[in-house]
């Protein structure tokens, strides 16, 4: 009797230790920076293969007016906690100026009226959030390609960085949202600086006065509250060095998947 009890006890103990080792081992593997680094190498493969099979100029599907979502979710920041931004918003963004700089021949400072006068495109597209949901909205904005040509990208430019007004919730209050895309994505015909949504000026909830639309990538790439556009050779020195606010927090820079 005593033997069988200790036997069961021993078996339980062994099972417990084995379980703890297994769970502990899982945690260690899952938490390892080396493992994460190895897993992240698939991102480059995904980006290259997707660029290969889905041509550079391929357009995201455009939908009809009837498909527009009655409820378009506002995600991330929906009202920037920034005094300068709130002042501009209170004034209808009359004082807002979009700065286009970095490695460009002719830096630009554009008011909202000037931006609205530039070549534009309207499109009804699907917005896919990294979380898994989708909403369809109609966007109108200045096509980024011609705007960048106007500024004159220097030879060495590889990425376009978007600096935003909002300090994202949960982050350091001095951190501002930012994002980056490569030049090929920036000059894609559907890549626009949207100032209208569903035939009305963009609301604060959705990124007023201007948000980026990159229709072949996920929502977090589509920076809201854009203040400044910077052409760079590398984004290594910006923010956490990974190319975007969420990228600095572990999300993939390439968000085509």
């Amino acid at each position: 009797m005593a033997d069988s009890i200790t036997g069961i006890g021993r078996r339980r103990a062994v099972a417990g230790v084995a379980g703890a080792l297994l769970l502990g081992g899982c945690d260690r593997i899952e938490g390892s920076a080396a493992v994460k680094g190895a897993l992240a190498r698939a991102e480059g493969l995904t980006r290259r293969v997707q660029a290969l099979v889905s041509p550079r100029g391929a357009l995201a599907r455009e939908y009809s007016e009837a498909d527009i979502s009655p409820e378009f979710r506002g995600n991330g920041t929906v009202n920037p906690d920034d005094e300068d931004y709130q002042d501009m918003a209170a004034n209808g963004f009359a004082d807002w100026r979009l700065e286009v700089g970095g490695l460009v021949e002719r830096p630009l400072h554009l008011s909202l009226a000037e931006l609205r006068a530039l070549p534009s495109r309207a499109q009804i597209t699907r917005h896919d959030c990294v979380e898994g949901w989708s909403c369809i909205g109609k966007w109108k904005g200045a096509t980024l390609g011609p705007l960048l040509r106007q500024a004159g990208l220097r030879q060495e430019v590889r990425y376009i960085v978007f600096h935003c007004a909002d300090p994202p919730e949960g982050g350091d209050p001095n951190t501002r949202y930012y994002e980056s895309i490569d030049v090929a994505e920036a000059v894609h015909p559907q890549t626009i600086l949207a100032y209208d949504m569903n035939d009305a000026p963009l609301t604060v909830r959705h990124g007023a006065p201007v948000r980026l639309r990159v229709e072949r990538q996920l929502g977090y790439k589509m920076a809201k509250y854009v203040m400044r556009i910077e052409a760079v050779e590398s984004f290594g020195g910006i923010g956490g060095g990974k190319g975007g606010f969420w990228e600095d927090r572990g999300y993939a820079w390439y968000a085509g998947i």
């Binding site: 994460k36 698939a42 997707q50 699907r126 898994g132 072949r216 998947i257």
Partner: protein, 285 residues
Amino acid sequence: MRIGIERARRAVIVHRHAAAVRVTHWVNVVCLVVLLMSGLQIFNAHPALYLGSASEFRHPVLAIGAENDANGQAHGITRLLDWRVDTTGVLGLSRDRAGRPWSNAFPPWATIPSWYSLAEGRLWHFFFAWVFVLNGLLWLGYSLASRHLWRDLVPGRRELGRIGATFREHLLLHFPKGDAARSYNVLQKLAYLAVVLIALPLMVLTGLTMSPRIDAGFPVLLTVLGGRQTARTIHFITAFALVGFVLVHVAMVVASGAWNNLRSMVTGRYAVEYRGRGDTGGEDG
């Protein structure tokens, strides 16, 4: 191929699975486990499913979440269309390893990583998706080149006529002996074919349909699969259909000789039992 005869047990050891099949099988096991668990992690970021192109947030097909009742007590609630089920403890509201309340759809023991991280779940999911696809292509290439697909998996017309009888034998846990045990029975063939030619490719296609860049290059995916949110729903349902397959598969492996089956998928060697002289198998169980 007859390798040897163990006279005492009247069992013939045959070479059942080719090395390519064994290796791809186990790589696939690892991939499917990681893909499922990291997939549940991703699902936890937005635990609701919809039909069509976009999400109609007020009318999900399936939604898992935590809700407070009239007394302020939290419950895990799973809603499937108009049904509402209290799933506290498993779905919507469970506990983490330290015993703290966990108000995500799937519990931490079911996800990779075991803490909440959409970013890391995606890292695991997409890495193993590549391994899974390459492994699957390897298997397909082998199966076509070696005729494994035709020889061992596609059932003949006579076998198809025996579906009902084979099904009854399975329910009674009567498995073929003798020569009949040398090849897959018709239910096995159909189940394996459905998995490798329908369910797994469907997982890949519905997964790809969730990629906005792939949608731009192959808009036909959106058309065929009924929109991105429908594709996401099919992805989820098919994942659980595969879980169902694995449960039945493992149960059958255990019921029809766990050791013999496992050995055959590791070393290739499989013992076929003969009951007596001249017995070529059948329903003598």
